[in-house]
């Protein structure tokens, strides 16, 4: 690995209470991913987006059509990230409305090929399939590269100890984090093109709009 190489890792947490088990899971996933990136010689640059802080701005964005500077900054961080960890509580058989609102206001092309680790929390393990019937299709639609292991943490999972035995939360976190780190290392850093400072010439726009 190139010395001095780095990757940006952005965590999106849709937990509502403070502290929240959703954020707790997000932090464990972030720490594990950072560890695997460092093992691969990559310096992780971590940024956490707490959607709770943007709840009003998200509603306003949906109604007025533009983001506040703080929300825009969070959106830019997600779109320019080299890897994403997204964590939502499961409400009524799916991700929370707040979680969906955030991804609703981001242009779809901001996710193409981006490595994403999906994770969720819930009261009991009976909600765990929401990972695969709700989160995974959302990020498939966004053309993200979702890692194979999704992590669901039920309340009881937090009492299973520190040892990474097969199938425990600690083991699932580590497996998913390793998959995410591997995907991030294997992909060139996200290149952002600013259409305002790097415009596409009109002749090219004309050509690309034909056919």
């Amino acid at each position: 690995m190139t010395a001095g190489a780095s990757r940006s890792l952005v965590v999106v947490s849709a937990g509502l209470s403070q502290p929240s088990s959703t954020r707790l899971l997000a932090d464990r996933l972030a720490a594990a991913t950072e560890r695997h990136l460092e093992d691969a010689g990559i310096a992780p640059k971590l940024r956490v987006v707490e959607l709770r802080d943007h709840a009003r701005d998200l509603t306003n964005h949906l109604l007025t059509g533009f983001p506040t500077p703080a929300l825009q900054e969070a959106i830019d961080a997600v779109v320019s990230a080299d890897g994403l960890i997204v964590v939502s509580p499961i409400f009524s058989a799916s991700f929370s409305g707040l979680f969906k609102m955030f991804f609703d206001v981001i242009e779809r092309d901001g996710f193409a090929g981006k490595p994403v680790l999906i994770a969720a929390t819930g009261g009991t393990a009976r909600h765990s399939l929401a990972i695969d019937h709700a989160l995974r299709p959302l990020f498939a639609y966004l053309n993200a590269a979702v890692v194979p292991t999704g992590v669901f943490a039920a309340t009881e999972d937090w009492g299973h100890g520190a040892v990474a035995a097969d199938g425990t939360l600690v083991e699932r976190i580590d497996r998913a984090a390793r998959e995410l780190a591997t995907a991030m290392v294997g992909r060139a850093p996200t290149a952002m093109r600013d259409p305002f400072t790097d415009p596409i010439p009109f002749e090219d726009l004309l050509r690309s709009n034909q056919g």
């Binding site: 949906l62 059509g65 533009f66 305002f196 726009l205």
Partner: protein
Amino acid sequence: MEQTMQFGVFTVGDLTPHPTTGQTVTEAERIQIMVTVALKAEEIGLDVFAAGEHHNPPFVPSSPTTMLGYIAAKTDRIMLSTATTLITTNDPVKIAEDYAMLQHLADGRVDLMMGRGNTGPVYPWFGKDIRNGIALAYENYALLHRLWREDVVDWDGQFRTPLTGFTAVPRPLDGVPPFVWHGSIRSPEIAEQAAYYGDGFFHNNIFWPKDHVQRMVKLYRERWEHYGHGPADRAIVGLGGHVFMRPNSQDAIREFRPFFDHAPVYGGGMSLEDYMDQTPMTIGSPQEVIDRTMGFREFVGDYQRQLFIADHAGLPLKVVLEQMDILGEQVIPVLRKEFAALRPAEVSDGPPLHPRVLAAQAARGGPLTSAAPEDSVTSTETAVPA
């Protein structure tokens, strides 16, 4: 004859209930309100009246050249424009014909602003695919541009029947096509298009934060220079604006708040105070409006046209006309003077005008000379009850 920066009003023609009485004017009344606003604009010495084009309720004006043709016959001096003309779903051949006809009837007092519209289903209603929005804006405008400049056009494109040996009639008045603005809130592709043709660029400057308006105008100016039309600061820029004024700013806010809170275009989420903080909207005293508007030139540079939204959100006609009086008496005279004092000599004051409009201004002794008193409309003799 010296040109001046243009100030004017634009209307979207919405039928919005009054927020406290729940009353909505009829379509007939709404159309008369728009006409009254246009005549008032001429009376108080504004330079431009611009009308929107819509094809769905709660909006009324679907047929801008019919309305502008009527207004042209009732006015002598004011420029008639659009905000916007749907370049995506209208046939460019019909735009070429309609606006050339209007230009003849109005003796050159016509320009227009191209836009893509804001209502998805208008595309399929007019046989188009919204996914081609930008492509339609490009192709249709390329054809319109040729139809006004070439007497006989042979043409093939993706979106319209081909043309062989076609002449759009009438030809533009004296061979001078109407000046064109391209309006877009958020698409850099449209700023690029305006720059490519050396046309004007208009930002409505109402719904988005100023940082965004600034980026759009900066891109347009840089690309205007790139395409060889001249230095970036000479590009032709127009801005919208939304103001509501009373002598005391607290009174303005108290009176306007219910209209803001209930107007569909403002969402119903953000508070009026947050909205004013995050967008260029100004609800306050005339001096606050002057200060805020002068501030626009700090983020877009010296510009050529300032339009304020006039009648909308269910504001009664009486209030709209009062607002226009404040604009005409207390705000715009000051803005004219202050903008002119700050503008470098080499930067054009206003957008290009038809030679006949320039000649008429010269004959009158200035663009600001009021219409004859018998033509005037005042707030007490309006066509519609307020």
